[in-house]
């Protein structure tokens, strides 16, 4: 109970850091000449902020697990976590929404850029707080590295990894399609259906970004492969599923539940594929404990 309490008091601090980042982003971006886009229909700023506050604390739980296992110094850990969170939470989500939604936040390139940048400060603040509060116990500073040893190994693994994400994305997407396609085909909740010609390049681009964001986590992870798989997969789910879909409270529950399940499966399978392709076979290693 004592250790749980020692853990729990840090989460509101992480949520607060995210919140301060949001306020800062909201002040800075208009000063840089950006115009804030309209909020989605049927939403209000207060409720959206509350959902994000809850989401940021949940995200902190999962980021803490990653932070506690990264065998690098503070600055590198902060950079890795910030890049990972920003790519999965903001860039990936905006790219996806740009084709699947007509809502103000992604209705134009300028608005999409605003939305992406709007998450930058919260991401940096949250990652900084998590990095400071959840440190690895061991003081090792060398990354364990990756399983590919030569250029040929790297090439085929990267190619496979790039193709894996779109494959997983379309496979699970098609599985949930019967439950949610009506919302898209009838254009409800500012949703729309892009063409295959738009979707395939987009998913390949997202795959590249996701790979770039995930590789530092895999390479610097000090612990078992099973632990990195679960931590990576679940953190990806919280970024792509929880923060982007489940917090979208104005969507009907069917849309949020089936997309949530889809994104959970996507994230776990994608993480498994990345671990299989790039992680060292060092399952016997004892994972370091978090310092509190």
């Amino acid at each position: 109970m004592k250790s749980l309490l020692a853990y729990l008091w840090k989460l509101p601090l992480c949520g607060l850091a995210f919140f301060i980042g949001m306020i800062l982003g909201g002040i800075l971006l208009p000063l840089l000449g950006f115009t804030p886009p309209e909020m989605p229909a049927g939403t209000d700023t207060g409720t959206v902020t509350l959902w994000f506050l809850l989401g940021s604390m949940l995200l902190a739980v999962f980021l803490a697990q990653i932070s506690g296992h990264l065998q690098v110094r503070w600055l590198a850990r902060w950079g890795i976590l910030s890049l990972f969170t920003w790519i999965f939470l903001a860039v990936g989500m905006v790219l996806e929404s740009f084709l699947f939604m007509t809502t103000g936040a992604v209705s134009s390139i300028e608005n999409s850029l605003f939305t992406m940048l709007n998450f930058l400060a919260p991401t940096l603040f949250l990652s900084g707080m998590v990095t400071s509060l959840f440190r690895p116990a061991s003081s090792a500073t060398a990354c364990p590295g990756f399983s590919p040893q030569n250029l040929k190994d790297w090439l085929w693994r990267i190619t496979l990894a790039l193709l894996t994400y779109p494959l997983i994305y379309f496979a699970f997407g098609l599985l949930v399609q019967p439950f949610i396609s009506d919302f898209y085909s009838t254009g409800q909740y500012e949703l729309t259906i892009p063409t295959w010609g738009q979707m395939i390049p987009l998913q390949l681009a997202r795959s590249l970004l996701f790979l770039l964001a995930s590789l530092p986590v895999i390479g610097c992870w000090g612990g078992s492969r099973q632990a990195v798989w679960l931590s990576l997969g679940l953190t990806i789910f919280v970024c792509t599923g929880f923060m982007a879909v489940i917090t979208a409270y104005w969507f009907p529950w069917q849309l949020r539940l089936f997309h949530g399940l889809e994104l959970l499966a996507d994230a776990l399978l994608y993480a498994a594929a990345l671990i299989w392709l790039f992680s060292h076979h060092s399952s016997g290693k004892t994972p370091p404990q978090l310092t509190r």
Partner: protein, 306 residues
């Protein structure tokens, strides 16, 4: 590992938050008995199954009104359609109907001042609401979907064989060696289960339990298919004289099994029946082995009590 399990549980539980939402829910006001004075704005539909109600001049119903029985004095505004199937509906001079007035029964008492913006349909002329049309899928799309489904189930089979080998083997054994028993039990579980779950859904309160039950039933069918696919994988290895590792055998077997099943299911009439039978065998095998947790041993004559 304990922490990771907790995190997995936390991530799964976070999906429950999908139940918390402001919009997107169907809302209905149900009146079955008593006297009611409705004032102000009412979101959703109004369904009257009895009683006596007045929609005051300042009241505004955002959805549609369905009067099955009882008496309603409509003095305010209804934005949707008004459907009269039974009972008495009085349209006061201040009544405003934004949609159509559908008359299928009951008694209507109109007033000269009431306004109906839509059309008035009587008897069999009541149109059905527009339903979204299902997009016809091309042959290429169907093939791609079938291939992805098979691939996904193949990967699931490989995963389950890696981490739950005995359970999968038990299901496969029950499905292949005791096919008739599995099919019978599967049909029984399917028919009884679906009937029970549909009945539960009528209680409204138990809708979540009903949905969960349907999910578990679907999961059982898929688990059964994986069991059958794994058995098929072993058979393929034996026939081709190239024994594969259990994980590879499960992947290949399930992939081939599901592909063949989907191919056969596309045959008119027979295909559908075949699909039901295979689903029943899978469901039965899973039920008999309690999701692979125990071996199914059929009762023998010698084992039966006198």
């Amino acid at each position: 590992m304990k922490t990771n399990r907790l995190l997995l549980l936390l991530a799964s539980l976070s999906l429950l938050l999908t139940a918390c939402g402001a919009n997107g829910l169907y809302q209905v006001t149900l009146i079955t008995d008593g006297e009611h004075q409705l004032t102000g704005a009412y979101p959703g539909d109004l369904l009257m199954l009895g009683g006596d109600a007045t929609l005051a001049p300042d009241a505004s119903l955002q959805g549609s009104l369905h009067l099955v029985s009882g008496q309603l004095d409509l003095q305010g505004q209804v934005l949707g359609d008004v459907t009269l199937l039974g009972g008495d509906l009085t349209l006061s001079p201040s009544a405003r109907l934004g949609g159509n007035l559908n008359l299928g029964g009951g008694t209507l008492h109109p007033s000269p001042g009431s306004l109906i913006e839509g059309r008035t349909h009587t008897g069999s002329g009541i149109p059905f609401p527009d339903l979204p049309e299902q997009n016809s899928t091309s042959l290429g799309g169907t093939l791609l979907r079938n291939l992805l489904n098979s691939l996904l189930l193949g990967l699931s089979a490989a995963f389950l064989t890696r981490y739950f080998p005995r359970g999968i083997a038990r299901v496969g054994e029950a499905a292949s060696r005791h096919m008739l028993v599995s099919a019978s039990i599967g049909l029984l579980v399917g028919v009884v289960g679906i009937s029970l779950l549909v009945t539960m859904a009528y209680t409204i309160l138990l809708i979540p339990v009903s949905l969960l039950g349907l999910f578990v039933l679907g999961l059982a069918v898929v688990f059964g298919w994986i069991g059958l696919g794994t058995t098929a994988g072993r058979l393929i290895g034996r026939v081709s004289n190239r024994p594969l590792s259990p994980v590879k055998s499960a992947f290949v077997g399930t992939l081939v099994f599901v592909l063949v099943l989907e191919l056969l299911a596309s045959i008119p009439l027979v295909g559908g029946l075949l699909g039901i039978i295979v689903a029943a065998i899978g469901l039965g095998a899973v039920s008999l082995t309690r999701f692979g947790w125990q071996t199914f041993v059929p009762a023998t004559e010698t084992g039966l009590p006198n």
